[in-house]
């Protein structure tokens, strides 16, 4: 048993952007993946709002390559 409820957020020159997620509905209705957020905190808060998840700290993965 495990959790598939997470996002992959990547750091860019200008901020952070969502590059991958597990929930189909995020891509369908948000356009979130095209956004750039100035801080990781804001990216997480944006993701939380879109996905309506309660424990985003457990639901975020990071790709800082």
């Amino acid at each position: 048993m495990s959790s598939n409820n997470y996002l992959l957020i990547s750091e860019t020159d200008n901020g952070f952007t969502l590059v991958e997620h597990c929930a189909d509905e995020v891509e369908d209705n948000s356009g979130f993946g095209r956004g750039i957020f100035p801080t990781l905190k804001e990216a997480c808060e944006g993701a939380q709002e879109v996905m309506r998840v309660e424990q985003i700290e457990y639901g975020v993965s990071f790709n800082l390559e």
């Binding site: 048993m1 495990s2 959790s3 598939n4 409820n5 997470y6 991958e20 597990c22 929930a23 189909d24 998840v53 700290e57 457990y58 639901g59 975020v60 993965s61 990071f62 790709n63 800082l64 390559e65």
Partner: protein, 134 residues
Amino acid sequence: MSIDYKTSNLPPPVYNRAKELWGVDFDKGTVFTYGDTIHSKSPLSADLLAHELVHVRQQTLIGRDEWWMKYFADPQFRLDQETEAYRAQYKWFVNNLTAREGVAKMLVWLASLLSGEMYGKLITRSEAIKLISK
């Protein structure tokens, strides 16, 4: 070693019991392995597949129903089985993420899951970090 498995986007037969015990929610991303079938509402990421394939192998060894009976009843068994799966998932990140900082963050994230309510808060996050990275 390749492991044969199937996938399903429907909850497994053990779902109601797991939900009753730990409040997990299939519709919000909880993934289950029942025998050789991985049940997930959304497509699996590669790291998660590595995790669940450990459970496929574990259940093949002792039998699907016996495994789940012990998983529900025995916290130490549950921890041992999940630790093995989280180590495989962590190893995937070690092998596929080049940035050390990213790997470290994934370790903390995995430890948060292993020590969380999903399994009945078996250990602390610090203990989980040690177990997964051993």
